[in-house]
């Protein structure tokens, strides 16, 4: 038991501690799916909610999970990426960090000539596809790989001069928190409820239509002839009953 726990911990450290973004995406998607499943169950087993409302609430809740995952990728992740990128590139900065950049501007000139974006999905995909074809890789590299300058990749930053790392990461974490929270508020609390309501309403309308059609088909359909009903029908037609006697021939 202890061994498997240690293996799991080591696995988490090796595979996910350095790439939290991907892990958050996967666990977030699983989490939303689970949450949606629980809330769908809550609606299904709630006897106080009428069927007509359930026709809206169930598809609304299912849409909630799908829209949440899509909105996380399209909005929250992009907000977060934009915010942190601004800090990493020095476009959004504080006075102490800016002073550090001006003071060491010579050492940042070289950074311009590097490809640093190893976290970029396109870049990762590109590296995987052209792993063994170095000629194609060299030709296509400028089209597939984004060139991004990152303050943290400079040697002067790595050497922790003027205690800049503390200032930089405190600011970076603040922007990281704000950008992801604002992105999540926009996607989860504004975009998702609007889209899930549109989907839920459409589904409710089509289910009501389906129910009505089903009911009308029952009303106008010819009654099914069973052996029992046929026998009853025949006996009614062939029986000679008199109103005064119960005797049948």
């Amino acid at each position: 038991m202890k061994l498997s726990l240690q293996k799991t911990v080591d696995g988490v450290y090796k595979h996910f501690s350095h790439d939290l973004g991907f892990m958050l995406l996967v666990t977030g998607a699983v989490g939303w799916a689970l949450s949606s499943l629980a809330h769908v169950t809550a609606v299904v087993i709630n006897k106080d909610i009428p069927k007509e409302q359930k026709n809206f609430l169930i598809p609304q809740e299912i849409a909630d999970a799908f829209v949440n995952i899509a909105a996380f990728i399209a909005i929250t992740h992009q907000f977060n990426k934009f915010g942190t990128r601004m800090v990493e590139s020095g476009k959004l900065t504080t006075a102490p960090i800016r002073n550090f950049l001006i003071k060491n501007q010579e050492s940042f000139k070289n950074l311009n000539e590097r490809i640093i974006d190893s976290n970029d999905l396109i870049s990762k995909y590109f590296k995987k596809v052209f792993k063994n074809d170095s000629a194609a890789k060299q030709k296509l590299e400028p089209f597939f790989t984004k060139r991004k300058v990152n303050i943290t990749d400079s040697d002067v930053f790595k050497n922790n001069q003027d205690n800049i790392q503390k200032d930089f990461y405190s600011f970076y974490d603040g922007v990281d928190f704000i950008s992801s929270t604002v992105g999540a508020i926009v996607s989860c609390n504004i975009v998702t409820p609007i889209l899930r309501n549109i989907f839920g309403a459409k589904r409710q309308k089509s289910l009501i239509m389906h129910d009505k059609l089903h009911q009308s088909s029952i009303m106008f359909a010819k009654p099914r002839v069973t052996l029992e009903s046929y026998a009853q029908n025949v006996s009614q037609k062939t029986s000679l009953t008199s109103p005064n006697s119960s005797m049948k021939i």
Partner: protein, 198 residues
């Protein structure tokens, strides 16, 4: 992070040599607030999300004109219940997970001197890396573990806590809203009758 050198120089890339006009925050108070927010973690984020969800989602549901009024009311009640319960349970689970992980990834030598629960105190530390202090790497490891454990905890809390509480609160809110609407109707009728009598 692997760094690869290329032969050509991209002139579009932001250059620190030329120092393009960046947005510089100079106010010490603003920097201080941002740095404090950087120390916030998932429980605080869940709180922000929960509060804003309660401020926006019920109104979006109430103004959903593509469904009838009864559906709007039930949908709004369920959204309030879901977000209220979800926020409380979410914050509690996250806080507990963080506390448990912090306890099980202890690196402070002073605290480790106390041999009580020593096995638990280092149970969630990676075996191949020795941490002597709380570094950025250790914080990231704690966050990664926290995300995993919170997901596992959610499996339990979603069905055992969120589900029954949301159901109970939805019914309570729907009944209250319907009672309020009925009282309003009765009052309007009475007012009309009184107005007609006069």
């Amino acid at each position: 992070m692997p760094i690869k050198k290329i032969n050509s120089v991209n002139t579009d890339a932001p250059s620190f040599g030329a120092l393009p006009k960046p947005f510089v925050i100079k106010r010490a108070k603003t920097i201080d607030i941002l740095e404090k927010m950087g120390k916030f973690s998932s429980p605080q984020q869940r709180l922000f999300l929960g509060v804003t969800a309660l401020m926006t989602q019920p109104f979006i549901d109430l103004n959903n004109k593509s469904v009838d009024e009864k559906t709007r009311v039930v949908s709004c009640a369920r959204t309030i219940a879901k977000n209220f319960i979800g926020t409380i349970v979410g914050i509690t689970v996250r806080e507990l997970c963080i506390k448990a992980i912090d306890f099980c990834t202890e690196v402070d030598a002073k605290k480790l001197k106390d041999t009580k629960y020593f096995k638990f105190k280092t149970a969630l530390l990676p075996s191949n890396v020795k941490f002597k202090e709380v570094t950025r790497e250790l914080v990231k490891h704690r966050q990664a573990l926290g995300t995993f454990i919170a997901l596992g905890a959610m499996l339990f809390t979603n069905f055992a806590i969120d589900l029954p509480l949301t159901k109970w609160m939805t019914n309570l809110l729907v009944k209250k809203i319907e009672k309020g609407a009925q009282k309003k109707l009765e009052k309007q009728k009475q007012d009309k009758l009184q107005g007609g009598g006069k």
